[in-house]
Amino acid sequence: MKHLNWIPAFLFGLLTNLAAAEEIRIAVAANFAAPMEKIAVEFAKDTGHQAKLAFGSSGKFYAQIRNGAPFQVLLSADDETPARLEQEGMAVSGTRFTYAIGKLALWSSGEGVVDSKGEILKRGGYAHLAIANPKLAPYGAAAIEVLKKLALLDAVQPRLVQGENIAQTYQFVASGNAELGFVALSQITQDGKLNKGSAWMVPGHLHTPIRQDAVILANGKGHPAASALMNYLKSDKAQAVIRAYGYDI
């Protein structure tokens, strides 16, 4: 029986670990996945709090939070979802703020396909233009606004394909199935540079700003790690990471 001695020790270790770690669960918009992973590592180093991240769409998070999902903080892809949750008493009022402003890019995975002014949209020569579902994703709604402003929506309508979220839209373009797509600048930039392919940074005046808001959820009320995270997101260190991924603040 000697070899079973480690079991109580193991269980004890497990329990004390659970008790000691100040842990929060954060619902994170899919487009903010990469920067948030970086920020969470730094956050753990600087404050000792562990942030567990779940990625998804704001609509799904809304439904889950309404039905008791155990998240303490929501980093939404829009500003409507946090505001609605606050109105409905599912979020702590007064904690809402914009942690990033998303930028839109017209992107192709091929070099030299997209010119720096986006003229290719008018010129044509592509079979599919991918956007995120405008009903569900703010980046999709912004893409539709841009096409309307450029008076191109009717012309490109038959060529539109929709990703369920901005991550899937990226996948359609990255795999080459859609020659062009409107994606989040954050998906194709790293350290301020384009990762791959060619892109047109869509000027901000062509669509309403994509304000991404964070809020502490009812579940996270009075949770020290939750307010620590909100403060951390406003710090210069976190904001530098956010900017490096192509967001404004």
Binding site: N133, F172, S175
Partner: protein, 224 residues
Amino acid sequence: MLSDTALSAIWLTARLATVTTLLLFLIGTPIAWWLARTRSWLKAPVGAMVALPLVLPPTVIGFYLLVVMGPQGPIGQLTQALGLGVLPFTFWGLVVGSVLYSMPFVVQPLQNAFDAIGERPLEVAATLRAGPWDTFFSVVLPLARPGFITAGILGFAHTVGEFGVVLMIGGNIPDKTRVVSVQIYDHVEALEYAHAHWLAAGMLVFSFVVLLLLYVFNPNGRRR
């Protein structure tokens, strides 16, 4: 209660499931027959291949289809060389995905049915000078009829219930790739719960009725 977009999604789903089921009978019957009769060492690997979609998450199948059928993938290169363009975002792309995804639901009941017939009726038919095709149509088909009914119903129903693969390769295009399951998902995500309920409840009733028919008319088909 049901909008035009919902009706068009229902019609598209019915068309997809019908085409898929017919193709699965054409492709699945010879595979099931071979699996039931062969003594080749290939039986196990081929059987495992056919069963893969039972185990793999649909997102895995969808993701690989997107890559393989894309412009740089082998199937994509082939379809482009044939002048067909690439398959993702088209109805026929969904058909290819659905055939792969629903394959085990057609092949396995057929294989069980063929197994159950055994050698004896075939030998008797041969002594009566029936050729292989004659044997198949006059002996095997009638004997395996419950298997064909089970296979058809399961293949059709499983295609109607497909979601992950369609989501990955469809592109959500009205009348072409926006099937009922995707439409429901859209409604739920957009918080249009009332619309979602109509379609979701319809799907629930449909699935129950289909399975009920299966158990009422074909009680032996499900018994092992």
